[in-house]
Symmetry: C2
Subunit: 120 residues, 2 copies
């Protein structure tokens, strides 16, 4: 996995996110998502709050020269395979734009924002 | 204004955004927002669709070494002064984090996402 995730891409995971309706005393869903990725050796950056709280769990895909994608609604109990698939696909897309059909459904349906690369 | 908007900051404006409930045959609100900024000589980058369509009009504040903010609900007929104020404040915040009290209300209430700066 580390080979596929090229150095110039970065996954940012919100560690304070909770899924809509999550009980307030339950372990944080974003923190669980980060732990699940770490357990699989998937490099990512942990961030407290991406200000996308109503659409958690949220993550960001980004890298120099690439489109940035803010994604939400990722349930660590259901969507880990989708997230891993998207990490791989994003790393393989030179401009960060993963072809629509290659995006897992949870990604297609829950793009919170996309941001064009900075001009060189 | 150009002096205040330092070179290393960039405002990206979605030109395809429409305000919620806007009639489909009306001129696009995002395009109008861009035109209003251009008429005042405010530099910005025009982008077709930031994938924040349900929360238009959307813009992005960003710059190297700064937090990126995706903001929504900007009405070109009501919020231009707020946007100009935020452009100025963002340019003056070295890390891109404008103190809460300095953020216009439409900015405080409609942050769609915030993204930390890339690590150096």
């Amino acid at each position: 996995m580390r080979d596929a995730m090229e150095d110039r891409t970065e996954l940012v995971v919100c560690t304070t996110c909770r899924l809509p309706g999550a009980p307030p005393d339950a372990p944080g869903d974003g923190a669980r998502l980060s732990a699940a990725l770490a357990a699989r050796g998937i490099p990512h950056r942990r961030q407290e709050c991406l200000s996308a709280c109503t659409r958690g769990c949220a993550v960001v895909f980004r890298g120099p020269g690439r489109w940035t994608y803010v994604q939400g609604a990722l349930d660590p109990d259901r969507h880990l395979p989708d997230l891993l698939e998207m990490i791989r696909a994003y790393a393989q897309a030179p401009d960060g734009v993963v072809p629509w059909r290659q995006r897992p459904e949870v990604i297609r349906k829950n793009t919170i924002a996309r941001i064009p690369p900075m001009e060189p």
